[in-house]
């Protein structure tokens, strides 16, 4: 036996079994077979390798090893002999014949392994059972002692099957309960749903007679009949047969639909009463040019119903019903149907449920097609308030003293001209309520008269006009004093020129006292004693805080300057040959201070180059030469000892690589990885040492408190 081939075989087997894949790598397997074909010695070796791998506590390893064994089993007689000689162990490791040696995790793979192993044993038995006695014995053992049902695809043992049955029964019971519940619910709710359905339907037909199948439903026919009568009364005899201009959309539709009937009736009426009357009469009476006059209206099916006062109640009900259906009935019915399908209930119930669902959905669709334009809630509330005309109190906007905003049409009432106040002009620039109607401007003559009268009124301090005047004066003076015009509201009209240059700053205390002497600036009054007449005499009640006073008088303005984008790049050479593309202002986080460099990344200034050289040297010093990572890795590979090559070097370079210990077989499922379940996380919290200690302490404390030493002494004192 060739040592080299032998080693190669071992290597191949290890690679194949630790691949973690559900299928073997065919190319490698072929190689294995090629080696095994050479001689029986290799097969023996292969058998030992396989058995060692089968003994591993990892289902994936076992599964792969098992697959390899099956591959070779069909090929080599010698392999069959050696495997069958130790079939007990093989079965223990793959079929789980020994209850004390369960298959290792992961579970799914173990299950797969077991199923496949059982099937394979059966296949082996049919082909080789005659020739290999132990194989037949093993098969009978599985069949009779372990009661494996080979017909069962799931290949379960008896106990497993029983457990499965029990589970099934339990589920069935639960479903049955659910079904009963659903049935009962359905019985209870069916009438409710029907009711709301009819309600919805009625609302819809009331708002909008069913246009799509006008002639089919009797109800709709009736309404159309009625509407057509009405139409006749209003439109036809007014000789405006189908002008839909002043009808709203829905009426138009009715008109259209009743058109044919009208025509017919017209014709009939003509023929009945005035037979043989010439066309002129007809034209005069009907406004139609001929008997064969046809009018085709194209009606867009796109409806748009607007909520207004007339249909408000209907729309409200409809909306309620809509909400009820979408949020309540539909989900409930959905759950029923789910239960029914799961349990497999009789046809009738199922049909009932689906019918209900269908009709509900139909109604919803219809509702959507209506495109009802709901009013917003706020408006509805306001409207409700408006409707209550008999209410004693009328909601009036707050008004006390100065009123910054006066509606245009009320301006005359207050004795103001419409453009005098800048504040109003501002308000006019952004109209708040589009619904507001601009009032007609007052007549000039009356205006002057009123103005005169108001001038007098201004003298009266109780009048609103007086306050306004005072305020106006104040504003005017302050505006003139400020000059620089920091108050945009007041200055914009008067000093349009300086506006662009002046900075806009937020209002502050300094502006409030602009140009005035502030007597109390920075003074703090200390009221040390709250007493009525007793006062500690030596305490100075007032003292001045310099800082505070400075704050009152000055303002600090941050000058941010303007942003200048960075033009330069770091350009330090990267290990991969490219240049660093970072555009930091001063310092690159990877390469330090940014210095001017040429195209290939060398520093232009010689002193920079020298400095870099020195730094590099210093780093080398820290990382001695013998710790060359490549060398260390080689040594490690040779000796198998960890010298720490992974952590010494290349913090910056490796970056992305994880620092954690490398697993031996990265393809296999990690068994040690604890499941990250909510339970485990909670466990980590609850059972961690410190929290346990804390809880124990608290409990101890509670215990000791129970037995306080002299707590109940009075008891003994009485005796």
């Amino acid at each position: 036996m060739d040592q080299e081939t032998r080693d190669k075989l071992s290597e191949l087997v290890e690679e194949l079994t630790t691949s973690g894949e559900p299928q073997l790598n065919q190319a490698k397997m072929k190689e294995v077979k090629k080696i095994c074909k050479i001689s029986n010695d290799y097969i023996d070796h292969f058998y030992h390798l396989i058995m060692t791998q089968l003994n591993q506590d990892h289902a994936e390893v076992r599964f792969s090893a098992f697959q390899m064994a099956t591959e070779l089993f069909s090929r080599s007689h010698h392999f069959r002999v050696v495997l069958v000689a130790n079939l007990q162990e093989f079965l223990e490791l793959t079929v789980e014949t020994d209850a004390e040696q369960p298959l290792p995790p992961p579970k799914e793979v173990a299950r797969k392994l077991k199923t496949q192993a059982i099937q394979t044993v059966q296949a082996w038995h049919t082909t080789y059972g005659e020739a290999y006695k132990k194989l037949a014995l093993g098969y009978h053992f599985l069949k009779q002692v372990k009661k494996v049902d080979f017909q069962d695809v799931e290949a379960r043992t008896l106990s497993e099957r029983r457990r499965h049955e029990e589970k099934q029964q339990r589920l069935e019971r639960i479903y049955k309960e659910k079904l009963e519940k659903a049935k009962q619910e359905m019985e209870e709710m069916a009438s409710e749903i029907e009711e709301s359905l009819t309600e919805m339907n009625n609302c819809m037909t009331l708002i909008m007679p069913d246009t799509f199948n006008f002639f089919s439903t009797s109800l709709n026919e009736k309404t159309s009949e009625g509407s057509s009568d009405r139409q006749k009364g209003t439109d036809v005899w007014d000789e405006k047969p189908c002008c839909s201009k002043d009808l709203n959309k829905e009426d138009g539709k009715m008109a259209e639909t009743s058109q044919r009937e009208e025509e017919k009736e017209d014709n009939n009426g003509d023929s009945d009463t005035e037979e043989g009357v010439d066309e002129d009469v007809f034209i005069r009476s009907s406004g139609l040019m001929s008997h064969t006059y046809r009018l085709n209206l194209s009606v867009s099916s796109d409806l748009n119903v607007k909520e207004n006062d007339e249909n408000e109640a209907l729309v409200n009900t409809m909306r309620d019903q809509h909400r009820l259906i979408t949020t309540r009935y539909l989900p409930v019915i959905q759950s029923w149907i789910q239960v029914f399908t799961k349990v497999g209930v009789e046809e009738q119930l199922m049909r009932q449920a689906t019918d209900l669902k269908k009709s509900l959905e139909k109604v919803l669709r219809k509702h959507d097609e209506l495109h009802i334009d709901y009013k917003t809630r706020q408006r509805r509330v306001l409207k409700a308030e408006d409707d209550e005309d008999d209410d004693d109190f009328e909601e009036v906007p707050e008004k006390e003293g100065y009123e910054p905003h006066i509606p245009e049409h009320l301006r005359a009432e207050y004795g103001l001209d419409s453009i005098s106040s800048p504040s109003t002009s501002v308000s006019e620039l952004k109209p708040s309520k589009p619904a507001e109607q601009p009032a007609a401007p007052p007549m000039p003559s009356t205006f002057s008269r009123i103005k005169n009268r108001l001038n007098e009124e201004e003298q009266d301090p109780t009048c609103a006009a007086a306050t306004l005047r005072v305020l106006k004066e104040k504003v005017a003076t302050s505006a003139s004093i400020f000059g620089g015009s920091v108050k945009p509201t007041t200055s914009c009209t008067e000093q349009g020129g300086g506006e662009e240059k002046a900075p806009v700053v937020p209002f502050g205390m300094d502006l409030y006292y602009w140009g005035e002497e502030q007597p109390t600036a920075g003074k703090i009054i200390k009221n040390t004693s709250q007493h009525q007449f007793w006062v500690p005499h030596e305490v100075e009640e007032e003292f001045e805080n310099k800082e505070l006073s400075a704050q009152m008088k000055s303002r600090c303005i941050n000058f941010a300057g303007c942003f200048q984008p960075v033009e330069h790049k770091c350009k330090a050479p990267n290990p991969n040959g490219s240049l660093c593309e970072r555009q930091d202002r001063v310092k690159c986080p990877f390469h330090g201070l940014i210095i001017p460099r040429d195209e290939i990344g060398r520093p232009i200034n010689p002193e920079d180059a020298a400095r870099l050289e020195r730094e590099e040297y210093k780093r080398r010093e820290e990382q001695p030469d013998w710790r060359d990572p490549e060398l260390m890795r080689e040594i490690e590979a040779a000796t198998g000892e960890d010298l720490g090559s992974s952590k010494t070097y290349g913090k910056g370079k490796k970056g992305g690589k994880g620092k954690g210990k490398k697993r031996k077989y990265p393809n296999l499922t990690d068994l040690k990885q604890t499941a990250n379940t909510s339970r485990s996380r909670l466990e980590k919290k609850v059972f961690n040492k410190s929290s346990m200690r804390r809880v124990a302490e608290v409990m101890n404390k509670m215990d000791t408190r129970k037995h306080e030493k002299f707590a109940n002494q009075f008891n003994y004192a009485l005796k």
Binding site: A131, L137, F141, Q144, V145
Partner: protein, 397 residues
């Protein structure tokens, strides 16, 4: 072989020598044989088997479901392949069947018309083989672990019975009554065996770790107790004085000539004793795995020059050299624990029964054909059985 034959012909050798040499050779080549099957009757584990000594033709087996089966071992078909047929069965439907597991079955040593079986249903039944009806039933207070009838007794027809009770019962087949008890043990009696050399000598093994030798003519007590340390008190702890094993002693077997006694215990040891003196021969058999709570039925070969002992050991049967203690081979074939084995001295065939319901026959492999005609027969064999061929696909070249 040829030299043995010529020596036998010329009368140089003792006639026994050839026989011994040949049977030893056969024992050494025991293998699970494809040609010999035993019909699968038992639906549960096989607890005990016994082969009658008169013809060596019929085999009794007792199952853990109470079923008793009698097999015919004789191959009269003149074909190499043979399945041992069940001659008759005491099945579950039989009115007299044992309710619980049958622990021991034994043929009457002088006639196949009678056999005795004992069971966990606290009874021992003496069966008439013809009618398959019990001729007599002995009832006991506890589970019956074992019983044994002397194979050489001429002056008595006693059956020693080991039950849950520490007293060994002696039942007389002549009177059909329990005539005697042997007191001395402190635990359940797991195994009893009459000496094949002296008809009144009886050995019993118990859960208290002791093995006692009795002379049934002496009512007072046991002759002696086997001591694993041979009386060397210093080695033994106080409890271990006069014990044969440190755990339960659950197996007991005399060698064929009755000079030695083999015992097995749950301390995973097997010991060989001089049956005359009770001296521990200190043969080291190594570890003999033994976890059974009941009696273990092992057997010793007969008629070989170094004798062998066959011990159930987990799922396999271990073959040891009796006097050397060397593990000769391990017979692996059962898929569950092996409970009993019996050696057929005429054909050097070993039968073993286990919890996997199988009774396996271990048959000596015939001599390989000589070198010159190997190629021819090999080819013929392959032609006969295609399953033995290799099936390498050509693509792997």
């Amino acid at each position: 072989m040829l030299s043995f034959l010529t020596a036998r012909q010329t009368g140089v050798d003792d006639p026994v020598r050839l026989r011994r040499a040949e049977s030893t050779r056969r024992v050494l080549s025991l293998e699970l044989n494809h040609d010999r099957d035993v019909e699968r009757i038992h639906g549960n584990g096989v607890n005990c088997i016994d082969i009658e000594v008169i013809e060596g033709r019929y085999m009794l087996s007792g199952g853990s479901d109470g079923v008793i089966v009698i097999y015919d071992l004789e191959n009269s078909t003149k074909k190499s392949h043979y399945t041992c047929k069940a001659v008759c069965t005491v099945g579950r439907s039989n009115r007299h069947v044992h309710k619980f597991s049958v622990e021991t079955v034994q043929w009457y040593p002088y006639d196949t018309g009678m056999f005795v079986s004992s069971s966990f249903d606290k009874s021992m039944k003496v069966w008439d083989t013809e009618t398959l009806k019990p001729a007599d039933v002995f009832q006991f207070d506890g589970n019956v672990y074992c019983h044994h009838m002397s194979t050489i007794a001429r002056k008595h027809s006693l059956i020693a019975v080991g039950t849950k009770d520490p007293k060994v019962q002696l039942c007389d087949l002549k009177s059909g009554s329990r005539i005697h008890v042997l007191q001395g043990h402190r635990g359940e009696i797991l195994s009893v065996q009459w000496s094949p050399r002296y008809e009144h000598i009886l050995a019993t093994a118990s859960t208290d770790g002791r093995v006692r030798m009795w002379d049934v003519r002496r009512a007072a007590g046991s002759l002696f107790t086997l001591d694993q340390f041979n009386g060397d008190k210093s080695k033994a702890s106080s409890e271990a004085v006069n014990t044969a094993h440190n755990g339960r002693v659950n197996g007991l077997h005399f060698t064929d000539d009755g000079l030695y006694l083999l015992t097995t215990g749950t301390d995973d040891r097997m010991r060989l004793w001089n049956s005359a003196t009770g001296h521990n021969t200190l043969v080291n058999y190594g570890k003999v795995v033994n976890e059974s709570r009941k009696g273990v039925k092992f057997t010793v070969s007969r008629g070989c020059s170094p004798e062998f002992v066959f011990v159930p050991c987990g799922t396999s049967v271990a073959v040891y050299g009796l006097y050397t203690g060397e593990l000769v081979t391990t017979l692996r074939g059962h898929y569950n624990n092996v409970d009993c084995c019996k050696f057929h001295p005429d054909y050097q065939v070993l039968y073993s029964g286990g919890k996997d319901c199988n009774i396996l026959a271990w048959v000596p492999v015939l001599r390989q054909p000589d070198v010159e005609d190997e190629a021819k027969t090999g080819g013929a064999q392959a032609a006969v059985n295609p399953a033995f061929e290799d099936a390498w696909s050509s693509e792997e070249d």
